[in-house]
Symmetry: C2
Subunit: 315 residues, 2 copies
Amino acid sequence: MSVLALDLGGTKLATALFSKAGNILAKEIVVLGNRQGKEVGALVADQVKKFLAADIQPNDKISSIGICVPGISRQLSGTVWAPNISGWEDYPLLEEIKKISAGIPVLIDSDRACYMLGEKWQGNAQGCENAIFLAVGTGIGAGILVNGAIMRGAQDIAGAIGWMALQAPFEEKYIACGCFEHYASGEGIAKLAREFLEKDIGYSGILKSAPIGEIRAHHIFSAYDQNDSMAVAIFRQCIVYWGMAVANLVSLFNPEKILLGGGVFGPATRFIPDIQKEAAKWAQPISMQMVSLQAAALGPDAGLFGAGYLALQNR
Amino acid sequence: MSVLALDLGGTKLATALFSKAGNILAKEIVVLGNRQGKEVGALVADQVKKFLAADIQPNDKISSIGICVPGISRQLSGTVWAPNISGWEDYPLLEEIKKISAGIPVLIDSDRACYMLGEKWQGNAQGCENAIFLAVGTGIGAGILVNGAIMRGAQDIAGAIGWMALQAPFEEKYIACGCFEHYASGEGIAKLAREFLEKDIGYSGILKSAPIGEIRAHHIFSAYDQNDSMAVAIFRQCIVYWGMAVANLVSLFNPEKILLGGGVFGPATRFIPDIQKEAAKWAQPISMQMVSLQAAALGPDAGLFGAGYLALQNR
């Protein structure tokens, strides 16, 4: 038995054939390029058709298809909202793939849900029934496992932790993406540096070397490596917000594990002991003692593994 | 078919016989008085025995027993932690009640879980699969319904929202009970007033009339009714924290409903429109549009109804 997994990102589509045990039997990555709207849907469909036809495992047919999408998968309608693909406000992906999948079941879920499922299947949340994947990249989201199943909420938008309120009073700058995401996402870190650079006229450190508008999170990580005072101050503030968010997840969910992943963890993995220390100040003390806080294991493949595990649920 | 429900509080034990449809067929309240430890367990057992023997519905035997406890019900061990009953750090309540229940199934759950279940059965959350009961009394807790079932977490302590971090940096005064509970519980409101009174030498309003040490939340509600400036300032701050907490529940859980209950809601029900306005600033905007924020319907009986619904799960 094998399953087909597709991980659609904002810039590329990864497709893999998985064995039931989680081994990758075949894999291909296609860049989206200039594709938009229906063209992206057509690309997903083409990859499914190609892998179904390929007969890579002649005696072992594909029994199910899982798709990870960069946004929200509406379970009732089978449509997808993906903010970074134009024309995907309510895209009928399930219907399109079902047309060409020859009766093989198709499951679609959000990237944050798939990250969590991937880690449960082959990563650092194996054996967990109650765990959370805190995904910190350009934005921030959480994939939340409750009693072994993804928690979706009433409209499939549970886990929107980027909107977490962590600092009163409310400020206008939180409107676009939420308070937590404003301060502590990849984009937030860069914005913070730009703000600091505009204000701090006396600063003459490493971050001055790039034009303010071009500052990205990775610049601040390299400045931190060289002990730059502004980079240190920025991450000190991020650690507080990451710690508070972890604490709030611990107090509310009493999970076995919280995994930190996404593009920022990555390089921010070094801060996990500090984040744990900050979280321990705030969280329900018994839940905090019991939780394990770790980096995610699967890196950029978490979504692909998650799509594979998703497919396994309905083989 | 009828079920037996017991709601053990810090000061009294309520017992009721419910019809399957949720009608109370008989009810009794006993004050705990000076009872401690095993004496409280014996009282619960005595009430169960009495109602089982009473034969109130001769052709309609009691098919199940549900018990609401003021603390944590450990599902694996059947023991209870109840901070306000001395000797109940890990009390073997399930075992004791099973001894005298003549084979009738017994279920025990925390007060916050029972409040939520009671409102789902007979209150303002009927028909909901994803809803939250935010209980604001002396302390603060949340009963959280995910896909129709109470979310318990790995050690049965999910919903400890009193520990929610809402205001950086961390302060020593949050250690005892958590940041949110410090600011916005019944006890928190009173503490805030005492703090304000000690600092504000110029103030000569209504709250001056009681000795500082005796100020309780209800004093501040009556001062608010008379437009007292200090009471207005205190509730303005509470509304911000209640709003942020509601926002965080909305963004994380995407629930159909959030019910505000407990002793403080109650009198704070008048603030729900303001809380909704504050929450709307912070929360994930689509989830916020979809959620309904309401006062709980069952008042002090929510736990008893919850115990009844709990019993119905296992009849």
